[in-house]
Symmetry: D2
Subunit: 391 residues, 4 copies
C-alpha cells in the first residue's frame, strides 16, 4: 500500500526544495522593468552573490541554467584554437570540456575516474610539461553532482602555481555553492560558475559567472554580445544586466533566497550542510557493512556536503527509488552518468534542508531496503540520529 | 547548533500540514457570490462531506472553528433547562459540556479520566437510571485531541440502546474525521461535528455539523437565526448556506482537499493513517522500554490514528519540543489540558502526512532524546522503519 | 464578440478586490497556534482595528461573516423579551432586526424606505414616546449595501440624546468601514459591527464587534460561551481570542490589509474613496440626463462612498450586467433586495480600488449602454475624467 | 492627492499583465526533472507553440529573453564573415543587427525610420543588386516595440522572391506573437523568434526560435553547444530540450498560458487584440485633434495591435507617465529608443488584456491630460466606448 499522500519531498541533487518565501516572492505581478523597485533589487543582489562566493570578483547574471554559465565563462575568455585542460572527476567536467570543444577550443583531459578527486600532483606535472603555455585555462568542478566527489580547489590553484604555469583556474560550483565552503578569492579562482536551483534555493532559470580581472583580461574572439560579461557586470543601463528583458520574477525569488542565507549566516549554512552530510554518511556507513549498498566516494574528506552518490547494483537503484517515491513520497535522484544507471542512486542534501527532512529521507531508504529485502547493515537510523543529537 | 533551516514541519495535532494544492486553490481573486462557479462548487461539497462521514445526514457548514460547530449542534437541539450527559475522556468533551452549560443546559458528566476510553457499561447503567428521560443527548468525542484516547462510537450507541433510552447521540470528530474510520449512519450517530483544519486539510475557518432527522426533530428554543441548520442544509438561496456572505476562499480550498480524499479513496486514507499511527507507536514502544517516556494510552485499540499524546515528565516535554523545533525544524504539540503541561507532548499524524514525514518526525524525537540525555530504549527508528517496510 | 479575456474585475459591493499582498500573506503553511509569531500578530491587530474605527472600544474578532457579527452584538447585550428599534433604510437593517427576533427579542421598526436616510427627528419623537424605556438598543446601518443609502450616525446619537432616552446605539459598518468616515467614539456609538471582506480587503471569513463599557454592562441572558465577547476582547489564553482554533491564514491576510491602510493613512483612505465615489457619480449624473438609468439616492450627501446602487428598469439591469461581464470582464453587483431585481444593479467602489479601475468600470458601463441601445446622456466618461483630474 | 491604492496596472509593452492562473501554476514545488509529469508537460508545449505561429516549423526553447532568441537564431545559421540585411523600423531590428555584428557577421541596413513600415520595393531593389548572393538572411521585426510600427511580413517574403534572391527571411515577433496575426508557413518565414513575457503571458525568462528545414540547412560555424537548436528541437534525452536543467516553473506557467490561448482560440485572440487596439486608436485620434499628442504611426494599417507608441513632446511624456502612475496606479511605457525619451510614451495592449482594462487606461490618460493642462481633443473616451460597444 502507498503511504505517500502527504507533502512530497524531492531529494534529488537539484533542483532542490524551494523555500515557501521564495515561491511567495515570485507570486506577484510583473514589475516595471524601466525604473523603480526592480532596479534597486537587482543591484542589491550583486554584493550578496559576491559574499556567497567569498569574493570581490565581478558577477554576471544570465537567464539560463548551469550550462549557460559554462558557455558564458568560456565565451568570455576563449578564442577558437585555444586550449583548456579538463580535470574530470565525473561526467560534468567532461561536459564542460565538450562545450568548449563546441566553441572551437582544444580540450585536453586528465580523468581521475568517478570515485576519486583530482590528484593535484598530476596537474602540476601536466602543466609543467606545457612549456609553451598552450593551456589557457584549467577547468574543474568543486563537486560533480553525478559522483558527489568534492575537489580541493585551493589545492588545484597550488598545483597550477607549483608548475609556474599562467593558466586561469575555472571552478564549477553549480552543485556546491552555498553548501560546501568555497572561497573564490582566497583560493585563487579566476572564474566561477553556478546556478540558482541548488544551494541558492531558487527555481531553475538563472546562471551566474564570477570573474576576476585576470580572467577579464584573457578575453578572446569567442565572446558575443549576448554572452559578454562586461556590460552585465557593470551595466550603464538596467537592461544591460541581462542583455534585454530582466528575469523579473526570478530576481524576486533570488532576493528572498539570499536573504535566507544572510539571516542564517554563511558559515552557519556551511556548518549545517556539513552536519547533515555527516548524518547521511553515518546511515550509509551502517547500511554498507553488509550487502550491496556503498557510497560512491570512500573517503569522507572527498565527499560533497550537498549530494551523496551511491552504488547498489542493477536494478536495485531503480527499485529502491521507485519504492521510496510510491510508498513514501520521497523522490531520490537517478544514477546520472553511470552505467547501468539503475544500479546507482543519489540523495541531494543541498539548500533548504534540515534535520527532520534528512531523518525522513534516511528513514524512508531504510524502510525501502527492508521492504525490498536488500541486505543491509542495521542501526543506520540510530547512527544518523546520534549525529543529529550532537548538533 | 541549529539544523532547522529548511522546510518547517508543523506536527501539532491540528492545524495540520496544508497541501500545496489547497493553498494554491485559495490564492485567487474573490469570486462572484451571487451567481456562477461558486454556487456550483459549494453544492458539490455537500455529497463529499456526507461521504467522508459515511452518511446520508444533512450537512450545515459554518464559518467558524470546532467550537462553533459544538455550539451549533447544541443550539439546534437544546432548550434552556434540557440536560445532556457528557462522556469525558479528556478536556474537550468537558469543554463541549461547558458550552452547553453556557446556553442554559444542565450538564451531567461521566468522567473516564485521561487514559481510558468510555466504559460503555457505565453509560448503559447511567441511562437506565434515568427513568424520566431527563437526558436529551449524550455527548462524546471520537478522539480527544488532548489525550489521543479514541472511543468506540458504535459501542456507545449500543450502550444507549441497551438502556432503552431515547437520548440523541452526539459525536465530536473534530480531531479524527478523515483519519480514524467513522461511520455516522451505521454507528447510529444523530449529530456529528467537525472542523476543516485537521483531517480535512484546509486552513482553519470552517466548522461542520451533520445531523439526521431525529436530531432535527429535537429542535428546542436555543436555536437562533445564525445557528439554524435548516436553511444552511437546505438553502433556497445561496446566501443561506452561510447565513450571509460565503467564506469564498475556504470553499475553494476545501474543494481541493476533498478532491485529494476522493482521489486516494476514503478506505485508503484510513489505512494510511492506521499504518502511520502504527509506525509512531512502534517507535514509542521502543523508547518507553527505558526511561520516562510513555504513550498516554496503553492499549493500542484505544489510541487514535490521528494524534499521539505522550507523557515524559516535567519539564522534559517542553525541553524536547524546544529542541526539536530549534535544532531540527519540527514543531510538536504541547501538553494541552494536562498539568504540568511541560511534562507532556503530542505529535499529530493527521491529514496530509506520509511515511517520510513520520520517519522524519520520529528521527527528530529520537535525536532529541539523545541530545537531552533523556533515558530511552534504543532501536525505535528501526522498529518504525519495519512498520513502514510492511506497507 | 467577447473582449473579456484579461484580468477579471469583480466590482460587486463585497467581497471586493483582494490585494495581492493579502493573498500572498495567506499562501503559507499553518503556523503554530500554541506559541510564537501568531500570538504576536494577533495581538497587533487589535490597536489597528481600533484605529480603523477611531475608537478605544474593545474589539472581539469572530470567525464568521457580517451576520455572525450581527448575532454576536445582539447575543452579548440582549435578553429574551428585550426590545430593539430598527431604523431601516434598506433590507439589511431589517435583516439585523430579524436576527434579533430570532433570539427572542421584540423588534420595532421605523422604515425610511430605500432611497432616503433615517429621519433623525422621527427617531427622537419615537424614543421620546418610550417613557418606560422599553427600547434597549437602536439598530442602524451606516450604509445599506443594497440601497447605498448612507446614514448620519452622529445625528442618530444626537437624536437619541435629544429624546433623553438611555438606549444603546448600534451601528452596522459592514459595507462602509474603511471607506466612509466613521468615528465610533466621537459619534457616541456603543456597538459597531463589521466584516473583513469589503473595506478591510481580506477574503470573507472574519466578523468584528467593537463595544464600549456601556454596551458591555448591558449584558443579558442571550449570551453564550461562543458569542461571549469578554474573553475574546481580553483573553487570558490565546485560544480565547477565537473561542477555539484561530483562523490562522485570515489573520495573516488581515495583518497585510491593515498594513496597507496604515501605510496610506486612514484620512487618505477616506479621501480616496470620496473622490472615486464622486467620479462614479459624475458619470451617473451624465447618463441619467436621458433615459432610464438613475442613481438610487438622489442627494449626494446621503450616498455611500463605498457602493452605488442604481435603477435602470427590468430587465435592463441584468442585460447590462451580463454584457459587462461577458464582453468586458467586469462583474457588477445584482439588484439585491429590490424587486424586480433585474431592474437594478450596483457597483462597488470599496477597499482596494483606484482611479484606473473606476475609469475602466465606468467605461465598460458606458459601452454597455451603447451596445444595448439603452438611452443615456453623453459625456459621462469625460465628466468622470474631470473628477479624477481634480485629484 | 493619490488615487492609486488599488490594483496596480502595468501597461508597458512587456512584460505584460500576468494571468492569475499562470502565476498560480508557477507557485509549486520543484518537480522531478528526470522523469514523470514535467517530461510530458514539456512535450505538450511544442505543438501549441507551433500552433501559435501557424507553423509546422521546429521549435527550440531557450531559457532567456528575446535577445537570447536573437542570438540563438543567428548562431545556428551564420558563419563569421556572412552578411545579413537589417530592415530597420525602430531600434530593435538595429539591435538584432548589432548582435549579428558581435558574432562577426557583416551587417547591412535599410533604415525606414521610426514611423513607417519597410518599403518592400526597396528591399527587392536592394536584393536584386546583390548578384553574388552575399546576403544570407534578411532580418525584420513584425512589430518594433519602441515605435509600434507593424511590418507586412508576407510582403517581405514576396519582396525577396521578386528579387529572385535566396536569402533566408528572419522575423522577430517578440512584441507581437499572440497579438498580431502571424502565419509563419503561409508567409514564407524561415526563422522566427519570440519571448514569453508579452503575448504569451508568462513571466520573462523564456525565448523561442522556430526554424524550418531551409534555415537548418544554412548552419554555419557560429553555432555552439548551448545555442544548437537541433538537440533542443529533437531531443533524445529530456535535458537536451534546454541543454541542461529545465526552467521548471516557467514551463508550468507557459503551459497555463498556452491553455488560455487554446481555450479562447487563436483567431479570437487576434480579433480581441484588433478591437482593443482600435479602441485605443479611437481615443488617440480624438486627443490628437488638438494639442501635442500624436500616435507615432499615422496609418492604422501599419500599427501594431499589441502596443501603441505616442509622441507628446518633452517633458510631457514623463510628466504624463508619472501622473498616471502616482495618481491612478497605471504604469505606462517609457519612450524607449527615442530622444528625448521624455517626449514619448507607450501603452501596451498585449496578452492578458480586456475591455475594462483598456477603458481604465484610456480614462486615466484622459484625466492626466486634463490634470496637467495638456491641450487635447475632447470626446476620446466616448469614442473609445463606441468601439467597445461595437464588439
Amino acid at each position: 500500500m502507498s503511504l505517500s499522500n502527504g507533502r512530497a519531498y524531492l531529494a534529488i541533487p537539484g533542483p532542490s526544495v524551494m523555500p515557501d518565501v521564495v515561491l511567495r516572492a515570485m507570486h506577484r505581478a510583473s514589475p516595471n522593468i524601466y525604473e523603480g523597485e526592480l532596479h534597486d533589487l537587482t543591484a542589491s543582489l550583486i554584493p550578496d552573490l559576491q559574499a556567497v562566493a567569498m569574493s570581490t570578483a565581478k558577477v554576471a547574471i544570465y537567464i539560463g541554467n548551469g550550462h549557460a554559465a559554462w558557455e558564458a565563462a568560456l565565451a568570455n575568455t576563449m578564442s577558437r584554437g585555444d586550449t583548456v585542460l579538463v580535470l574530470a572527476t565525473g561526467p560534468f567536467c567532461i561536459g564542460w570540456g565538450a562545450m568548449a570543444a563546441g566553441m572551437g577550443v582544444h580540450v585536453e583531459t586528465l580523468d581521475f575516474g568517478y570515485n576519486m578527486p583530482v590528484d593535484a600532483g598530476r596537474v602540476t606535472e601536466y602543466l609543467a610539461a606545457d612549456k609553451a603555455g598552450r593551456i589557457k585555462a584549467v577547468l574543474a568542478v568543486q563537486v560533480d553532482t553525478s559522483t558527489s566527489v568534492k575537489n580541493d580547489i585551493a589545492a588545484l590553484r597550488a598545483a597550477v602555481d607549483a608548475a609556474g604555469h599562467p593558466a586561469l583556474l575555472f571552478a564549477d560550483c553549480i552543485a556546491s555553492l552555498g553548501c560546501d565552503r568555497f572561497e573564490m578569492d582566497a583560493w585563487g579562482v579566476d572564474v566561477m560558475v553556478a546556478g540558482c536551483q541548488k544551494g541558492l534555493m531558487t527555481p531553475a532559470g538563472l546562471g551566474f559567472v564570477w570573474f576576476n580581472a585576470k580572467a577579464d583580461a584573457a578575453r578572446g574572439d569567442c565572446v558575443t554580445s549576448y554572452w559578454d560579461w562586461r556590460p552585465r557586470a557593470e551595466p550603464e543601463q538596467f537592461y544591460q544586466y541581462f542583455n534585454g528583458t530582466a528575469p523579473t520574477h526570478h530576481l524576486y525569488g533570488l532576493r528572498a533566497a539570499l536573504d535566507l542565507i544572510k539571516a542564517e549566516g554563511l558559515d552557519h549554512v556551511f556548518a549545517r550542510h556539513a552536519k547533515l552530510a555527516q548524518t547521511v554518511w553515518a546511515a550509509f556507513d551502517c547500511w554498507s557493512t553488509t550487502g550491496p549498498l556503498q557510497m560512491n566516494v570512500a573517503d569522507a574528506a572527498h565527499r560533497s556536503h550537498a549530494v551523496t552518490s551511491a552504488v547498489i547494483g542493477s536494478p536495485l537503484g531503480d527499485r529502491l527509488r521507485n519504492w521510496c517515491e510510491h510508498t513514501c513520497g520521497l523522490t531520490l535522484g537517478i544514477g546520472l552518468g553511470r552505467a547501468p544507471a539503475d544500479g546507482y542512486f543519489r540523495i541531494g542534501h543541498m539548500g533548504h534542508v534540515n534535520a527532520h527532512m534528512i531523518m525522513g529521507a534516511l528513514g524512508t531508504i531504510d524502510a525501502g531496503l527492508k521492504a525490498l529485502d536488500i541486505p543491509h547493515g542495521r542501526g543506520a537510523l540510530e547512527a544518523a540520529s546520534n549525529v543529529v543529537a550532537s548538533a
